[in-house]
């Protein structure tokens, strides 16, 4: 039976100092433009959602840039997620107040997991995305049960936690997380494709949507992550910013492959 629901294409804006930037494997940042302009551009060309991540808020130990969020949200009428440096219910409240529909938490959720429940109880689980940055364990192979050994990192990929990605995703769900944003640190910025086995392992072990992130470089990669990776949504940044791939063109390809998508009018 057709589920009716479409696979989502999410445009991600990595922001630092109020500007959108793009790095390779979390490093070497280059300027890609203004957040509000790019968000609007992506939404108009058919992105189903926009994610804005303040990628240096946690490492700089400063709050997220509320005015950038407010400015970006003003004329954006698709779901808008903001993350980076969310440490408390108050941080989250300020972002919702500035126009975010969902917040994404990463480091704080690992350090104090009860924050997930606190925000979910106040704003609903649908508003809480758990961002997981995961790196495959060296020399580990995929077991016959389909588990994919990967370790969770925090602070924008700077600190290893010892947590297993699948286990952490399950716990985050049980604490009230509404969606998982899974970024493969191995694939991020490489444009060689998503980590489909890891995405599938997480997607099959939770009952909430999983957004795949890291590695998008072509339309084929999205086809793979929706089919083999079992992703509910896929996120990409750089390939959209520089106009290499526009969302409309990508969705036409996905539809041609039998993947249900929302085509822009």
């Amino acid at each position: 039976m057709s589920t009716g629901i479409t696979k989502r294409i999410i445009a991600c804006l990595d922001v630092t100092n109020g500007r959108v930037v793009k790095g390779v494997q979390f490093l070497d940042l280059i300027d890609a433009g203004d957040p509000a302009e790019l968000a609007h551009l992506h939404a108009t060309s058919g992105a189903d959602e926009i994610v804005l991540l303040d990628i240096t808020a946690t490492s700089d130990a400063r709050p997220i840039l509320i005015d950038v969020v407010r400015r970006t949200a003003r004329k954006l009428f698709v779901p808008f997620t903001v993350g980076g440096g969310v440490r408390s219910l108050d941080d989250a409240s300020a972002l919702f107040d500035a126009g975010a529909d969902k917040i994404s938490i990463n480091s704080a959720a690992i350090k104090t997991p009860q924050i997930i429940t606190e925000i979910a109880e106040r704003f609903g689980s649908q508003a809480v995305i758990i961002a997981i940055d995961a790196k495959r364990k060296p020399n580990a192979t995929i077991s016959s049960e389909g588990t994919v050994p990967a370790e969770v990192y925090l602070a924008g990929g700077r600190v290893a936690t010892g947590l297993d990605a699948v286990e952490w995703a399950r716990e985050a769900e049980s604490r009230g997380g509404g969606e998982i944003l899974l970024t493969s640190m191995d694939c991020d910025g490489t444009r060689t494709g998503f980590d489909c086995p890891l995405t599938a392992a997480v997607a099959k072990s939770v009952n909430i949507p999983v957004i795949a992130s890291g590695g998008a470089g072509s339309g084929d990669h999205f086809v793979e992550v929706f089919k083999a990776g079992c992703a509910d949504a896929a996120l990409a940044a750089s390939i959209f910013h520089f106009g290499i791939h526009d969302v409309r063109q990508l969705k036409a390809q996905l539809q041609g492959e039998g993947i249900p998508v929302r085509l822009p009018c």
Binding site: T3, R74, D97, G99
Partner: protein, 206 residues
Amino acid sequence: MITLIDYKAGNLTSVRKALTFLGQESVVTDDPALVRDAEALVLPGVGHFCTTERLASSGVRDAVTEAIERGTPFLGICVGMQWQFGGSTEAPGTKGLALFEGACERFHTELKVPHVGWNQIHRTAAGENSRLLAGIPDDSFVYFTHSYRAPVVEGVSAVTTYGETFAASVERENVFGVQFHPEKSGDTGLRILKNFCDYAAERSAR
């Protein structure tokens, strides 16, 4: 002037922002007196059905009922629409307004719950002349995020399918409800909100 009902659950900013974009003035209140005298009411909603309990204890529920009887345009969004039904199995002790028959239940499906993302709305026969959906092409995509859904009963103007078919929108005289989030559904959603604002403006001009 549209009055947005604040019941301290979830996030009113997005709806307010969309109304502002449409050139529509709005105020936010939890004061029953202001709700009773409003020109038009919008009840946004996210989260748990039990949060609507506050509407009863604060007197807002009675004010809404009075306003509806007087013909005040009323739009419920998401949990705001579910509240227009008899109740929800999410919070069995909490009563809805019972303006539409039946109660909301959790999705009966093997699919992932919550139902999150863009899905299509299909008009029912009763929805052909819907004020709220005027100018909206059939099968348009809108954004949903919910775990409980309302039954397809009299007054349902459009349905959506996710493992099963459920009420996407309801409409009866001055009462409107949408399960999806028009404030997050791009141009389609803005048009739906505009339809409500236009209806509200016509009513208050009478």
